[in-house]
Amino acid sequence: MTATSDMAAAAASSRRTIHPAIVRITHWINAVAMIVMIMSGWQIYNASPLFPFTFSRSITLGGWLAGAIQWHFAAMWVLVVNGLIYVAYGFLSGRFRRKLLPITPRAVIADASAALRGKLSHDDLSVYNAVQRLLYAGILVVGVLIVASGLAIWKPVQLQWLTAIFGGYEASRYVHFFAMAAIVGFIVIHVIMAFAVPKSLRAMITGK
């Protein structure tokens, strides 16, 4: 190696931020906002359950329906404003394109079976494997769905065109619930993986 390529390599590795500050900040704000939305949402669900079960009060937020609604309609602003900043940055900077595309069924199957056999490498955190790409892109879609279905429930008269897209008021409640279930499922996998690969958690805090 020549002196200049040594210097170039050293400069490159100190330059190689995996997650820029804006990604890290919006990530953690989103994490808090989502937890508030989910826990208060569970308390709201309990007031008129869609299925023959309710959520334990130990994991709900708000104490009763009025309190839960106050939390839910406060945190929604944080969730949406923060979410819009994150999505705008992702598109405008090209980060979504670079990090999440392409996704092919073959790659997803290959990486998923490697992961299940414990053979999926996490050496280079700056390149997402196909399962990550699918889930991170997928959760963006689910995020849009949960906000849209929430709006459809909240404003079935003023936004009746939106409520109609989901099949009406009652159907919108089910869409909202299933989107929540998908998000909770994502969180479980995501948190398990973050602790299973601790340097990924560090990267989302320090950026490197």
């Binding site: 309190g67 008269v157 003023q158």
Partner: protein, 258 residues
């Protein structure tokens, strides 16, 4: 929202509740405390009780007031709530109140007189016969409860906007305050009051309004959540002062628009 309530003959329960509430701690704060207990891990993390504190409660209330403004901006005076067919009507239509159906107020229709007060030209009270003689319209719309459930029903009555015209109401006023026989009350904004589907209701389906659904008069507002559709209404006041409401005073959102 079912809740046991004492009915004491001869006592104005409205005033009794008002006095009692002044003496009691804020009930919603007790519930926030209950809510706070379920979020122990997070409060330990932050080192302070962010969920349960008085400042959390007041911030949440102020955001709810901000949301009132957002909702008022989203409200369109001409956008109608979706309507349905007779076949869509829920049978039986649900009863819901903060008391058991056995405690619903029984009002003598012959003695009933709707009080009209505040910023109006004509403060005479109205008998049921006089109210029934006003031009009536039927609507089949979806009642949506703050709890989340909904039911399609059929309500017939006179447009509130038409009634306000007849009593010479000042439609530049901000609010209308409705008070009910058993002490329930709510305040609505004038734009909603003037909406074509806001109705002083006297019939459910083809029958005179049953006790369960608010005999003798309900105010049906399909552009607002169910708790802002008062039953057993005995008085209405056109006013520039927000008088709050039974559930609004306990922390439910004031505008609650659909």
């Amino acid at each position: 929202m079912a809740r046991k309530r004492f009915v004491i003959p001869g006592v104005d329960t409205r005033l009794l509740v008002k006095d009692a509430m002044k003496a009691m701690p804020d009930p919603s704060r007790r519930r926030f405390i209950t809510g706070g207990a379920s979020l122990g891990a997070l409060t330990l993390l932050t080192g302070c009780n962010i969920v349960d504190s008085e400042s959390a409660e007041s911030v949440l209330r102020r955001i709810s007031e901000f949301n009132d403004g957002v909702q008022a901006a989203m409200f369109s005076p001409n956008r109608l709530a979706p309507t349905y067919s007779e076949a869509d009507i829920r049978v039986p239509f649900p009863f819901n109140a903060y008391y058991d159906i056995s405690e619903a107020p029984l009002i003598d229709g012959a003695a009933y007189a709707l009080e009209v007060s505040g910023l109006v030209d004509n403060k005479k009270s109205w008998t049921l016969d006089e109210l029934y003689a006003l031009p009536q319209e039927k609507q089949i719309t979806r009642h949506i409860c703050v709890e989340g459930w909904s039911a399609i029903g059929s309500w017939t009555g006179v447009r509130l906007s038409e009634f306000l015209k007849r009593v010479g109401a000042d439609t530049r006023a901000k609010y209308i305050w409705f008070r009910c026989a058993e002490g329930y009350h709510t305040t609505i904004d004038m734009p909603t009051a003037l909406h074509p589907q806001t109705q002083m209701t006297f019939k459910f389906g083809n029958d005179i309004l049953p006790v369960a659904y608010g005999y003798p008069m309900k105010v049906r507002i399909p552009t607002k959540l169910g708790f802002k559709n008062p039953k057993h209404v005995v008085s209405m006041e056109v006013t520039n002062t927000d008088q709050g409401g039974y559930w609004e005073n306990q922390g439910y959102n004031w505008f609650s628009g659909l």
